[in-house]
């Protein structure tokens, strides 16, 4: 378990660093695939099967293929590189490292067990949300489906209104709008000067 976690975590982090370092856009896309694929592996390890599969299907199989397609359409020559200015890179790198240390210090500073107890005390829960069905096997598909339909059988006291039906509908309408909008934006236009 921890061995797999180490492998996937290292691959995710190194892939992300390589995305920043590499200059060629297609190599960036390749390292992004490595990174996002390993994140999907992390999701599988964290018992989120559906999220991991969605990550693979939507991000790696969909979005990134689209990005590479975009790279091919917009490349003005083979292996197009637009180098970043070194000054900017150094400044951004410094700020990034500082930010990372800040986040790291914060993560280590928080007492997660204590906060869990406090949350449970505040919400009058005796055992806390012990989570969803069969956590050990990551079978969260049906609970997720119920949650998206607005039913929450996994919440202990059956809190009303804890479902996600409205966000789900909004997301679907949003996707429709995006579909039409993207098709409209990227449509083949007649150049005015040509006519």
């Amino acid at each position: 378990m921890s061995l797999f976690f180490t492998i996937f975590a290292l691959a995710a982090c190194l892939g992300a660093v390589a995305v920043v370092i590499s200059q060629s856009v297609v190599r960036m896309a390749f390292w992004l695939v490595v990174s996002l694929g390993s994140v999907a592996g992390l999701f599988f390890l964290a018992d989120a099967d559906f999220i991991g599969a969605a990550q693979l299907l939507i991000y790696v199989g969909g979005t990134l293929v689209l990005l590479v397609f975009g790279i091919m359409l917009t490349a003005s020559g083979p292996y197009m590189k637009i180098p970043a200015s070194p000054g900017e890179t150094v400044v951004a790198g410094l700020i990034g490292v500082m930010f990372l240390f800040m986040v790291f210090a914060t993560i280590n500073g928080v007492d997660w067990d204590g906060s869990r107890d406090r949350i449970m005390a505040a919400t009058h829960q005796t055992e806390g949300a012990t989570g969803f069905d069969d956590r050990s096997e990551g079978n969260t598909l049906r609970p997720l489906g119920f949650a998206l339909l607005g039913v929450r059988p996994d919440v202990p006291n059956g809190v009303a209104g804890a479902g996600y039906l409205l966000p789900f509908e909004i997301a679907s309408v949003h996707l429709l709008v995006v579909l039409i909008g993207a098709a409209y934006l990227a449509r083949a236009k007649r150049r005015q000067d040509v006519v």
């Binding site: 378990m1 390749f30 199989g61 293929v65 083979p78 069905d133 990551g138 079978n139 598909l141």
Partner: protein
Amino acid sequence: MINTLAANSLTDALTGPLPLLGWDISSDTAFVIAAIIHAVLIFHVFALCPFFLIWLERKGSGRIQDRLGPTRVGGRFGWLQSLADGIKLIQKEDLCPPVADAMLFRSAPYIVCLASFAAFVVLPFSHSWVAVSADCGLFILLAILSLEVFGIIMAGYSSGSKWSLFGGMREAAQMVSYEIPLAICALIPIVSAGSLNLGEIGDMQSGHLGNWFLFHDPFTFVAFFVFFVVLTAGCKRAPFDLAEAESELVGGFHTEYSGMRWSFFFMGEYASMFALCGVAAILFLGGWHTGIPGVDGLLQEWRTRGEFTPFGYLANVIGAGVFVSKAAFGVFVQIWLRWTLPRLRIDQVMITCLKYFVPISCFLFLGATVWPLLFMFVWEQTTIYPEPLGKRAAEIWSVRHDDSESNESVSTDADAGSSNDSESIEVELSSGQYVASTNKNVDLQLQSDSSEQTALAASIEVRQ
């Protein structure tokens, strides 16, 4: 996900003192051994698929073109031809063109291979013969197979050749659009099944031919053929093999490849053909069930005796044989199509997908969802499965959810009244496949067996 179904049963079988040597195997060690066994088995399936299918392709194409095909290597039918090909390919020089982006060029074949290999992890070969029995198995399988296209695009782009680039771009456009009807068509039997677990879906279709999802309703019947055509396009097989189109693009995305790396693409291609045809067999053609009424019932009866009993094991072996032959027949039809039909143009391929397959599959999906309602309102009866989908899903979920709680309560007050009830749940769950509960025949049994208490508790649980 970590605790896999088949690995668990193997782990249980391995745990304990070893018969001959007297070693005591802990459950952790047994789990590792079970995992290794699965990995090795899947790797062999992955390697032997192309081995057999490439031979089949050469033989089939030969027959269709009125030739003999390979005849010499390995005796009468040239059945070792793939081995000879492999040995030849290993000896070839591994070339990398100077204009290529070497790192991407070298790693692209591995991505293709890795993706189609990983798809076998969630593909069941027989009842509970699956490495990872995930609840969203079909979704994971489609997701992993969609990674394959990325390797092909990488290969096309990084070769630094215009033929490869054209091949890669065609592949990208084709894949992104064909994934949509593929996923929608795969969802159509799911609407009737109420589960994404491939093992469950396969087990629902036991009994007789009429239980196959192919014959479930007119929409699934049409959906199978649409699915098969889309699947052929998804595997970039002729008449949709625009990515390699050897008469116009030399070799398409693999123009610049040679030796082992070139053969990796084909291993990946044939393995994913097999995997997708296997999915089609599970979704529509009854998976590992023969479809013959008496035989299926007998095999099902053998399976209930336990997985590691001789008859149970034999039933599973027969099931695996049936499944593999169904999938191989699907691949054979693809081969047959390839050598029969001429190749489409790229714009025709895109129009076929976007103007025909997407609307058709959307209509079929709508029809498949409306069909049970029609039955309910017009004839006041449900389709072959006794209950609506949502209710069944809720019951499966709550029965499994209840299990942990009811176990505790029963252990505290093991009275005569509740023991019968808990037993029926436990039998159902300890067989590892609550699958059985969704099967038509068993479902009726279960309803008569289990006391009203469970149903009541389940419905209360869901209402909350």
